[in-house]
């Protein structure tokens, strides 16, 4: 597939992503081998592709649930205020919860989710993210299973969008600066 003109370069190609997702799944499967009642909580919209690939590689039985969040912000600057649009369908109390995110940026969203879920008294609570931008971090959050650390560039594809575009590219690409400036 030819890269759209808005893409400056491919940061992570399909092969590199697939290999890393396999490694993460193997690690998670080993760590949760004896856990009963595991639930993966996918954060919409961004995580759906990562979740679909990760879940298929897991060998531990698990449930999948989704939450939808929205930011109160408009534009590129984040204040960290998060609005919960849709909660999980099932209760997470007493269950092993793994939050699945596409990217950890400021850390505000993940911090909000960790605080929200911790209050519900899960048996355990861990986080898995495909990407992390450490340079952008405003809140310290622990990512238990991380795919890749990336520099502070605007990335799209594999679930990540720019104004809802480029979300379903099968790779992670860097958006040209003139597209968002």
């Amino acid at each position: 597939m030819k890269a759209p003109d808005a893409i400056e370069r491919v940061l992570l190609d399909e092969g590199a992503i697939a290999a890393r997702v396999c490694e993460l799944a193997a690690q998670i499967s080993a760590d949760y081998a004896h856990a009963k009642d595991v639930v993966l909580v996918g954060v919409l919209k961004g995580s759906f592709i990562f979740l679909a690939d990760l879940a298929r590689r897991l060998t531990v039985p698990h449930h999948v649930d989704f939450i939808a969040l929205s930011s109160y912000d408009r534009g590129a600057v984040s204040t960290g205020a998060v609005r919960l649009i849709m909660d999980t369908r099932a209760s997470v109390t007493g269950r092993h919860v793994l939050i699945v995110e596409d990217i950890v940026d400021t850390g505000c969203t993940l911090d909000y989710l960790l605080r929200t879920f911790r209050a519900r008294k899960p048996a355990s609570l861990c986080t898995c993210a495909l990407l992390s931008k450490p340079e952008r971090r405003q809140v310290e959050v622990l990512v238990d299973y991380l795919g890749f650390e990336i520099p502070n560039v605007w990335v799209v594809g594999y679930g990540l969008d720019y104004a809802d575009r480029f979300r379903t590219l099968p790779y992670i690409g860097v958006l040209k600066r003139d597209v968002y400036e």
């Binding site: 919209k45 690939d53 999948v64 929205s70």
Partner: protein, 184 residues
């Protein structure tokens, strides 16, 4: 692996599934143009895996939105009326909408969803489903893109669950009778 032991047979293998998903994407690519700004509406939870693979093959410009629905229980089964837990983020007035489903069974839920979406005046409204069980149909719903017609068996995997299990199998399998008998 325990989950696979509960599967009586593989109905559609991973390879056959992936090849068909790519074909469906090609058909969608030729149906729409970039100017249509196609909007895919994924019905959760079941269709997320299909959507993830389908959209990665799409070359035509498109966006993705999600709906999550839940039934009100046995009393409303015959009407197909469902509760919308998560509605679309965007207005679809004037948009070309393609509903993405995992399976069409009686057709009642899909009928309800499409009637609901049509009131919002999309420019066009089509349906893409991975699986269809024609023998179970109670209401006639037009399907524009169908992956596979399947017999009336208890199928799981690739997004489809039984009691929330088996969703993550990478193929479509038929569940053993002893797994679901007595539980419903």
């Amino acid at each position: 692996m325990g989950l696979r032991d509960d599967v009586k047979k593989v109905l559609i293998s991973e390879e056959v599934l992936q090849a068909r998903v790519a074909e469906l994407a090609r058909a969608i690519n030729t149906t729409y143009t970039d100017a249509d700004r196609l909007l895919l509406v994924c019905v959760l939870k079941g269709a997320f895996m299909f959507l993830a693979d389908l959209t990665r093959h799409l070359e035509v410009r498109h966006e993705v939105d999600f709906m999550e629905i839940s039934s009100y229980g046995a009393a409303t089964v015959s009407s197909g009326v469902v509760r919308i837990l998560l509605d679309l983020e965007r207005n679809i007035d004037g948009r070309h909408v393609l509903v993405v489903e995992d399976i069409i069974d009686s057709g009642r839920t899909l009928d309800y969803i499409t009637r609901n979406l049509r009131t919002r005046r999309p420019a066009s409204l089509r349906v893409c489903t991975l699986l269809s069980k024609p023998s179970r149909r109670e209401i006639d719903v037009p399907l524009d893109f169908v992956g596979f017609e399947v017999p009336d068996e208890f199928v799981v995997g690739y997004g489809l669950d039984f009691a929330e299990e088996y969703r993550n199998l990478p193929f479509i399998g038929v569940l053993k009778e002893e797994v679901y008998q007595g539980s419903e």
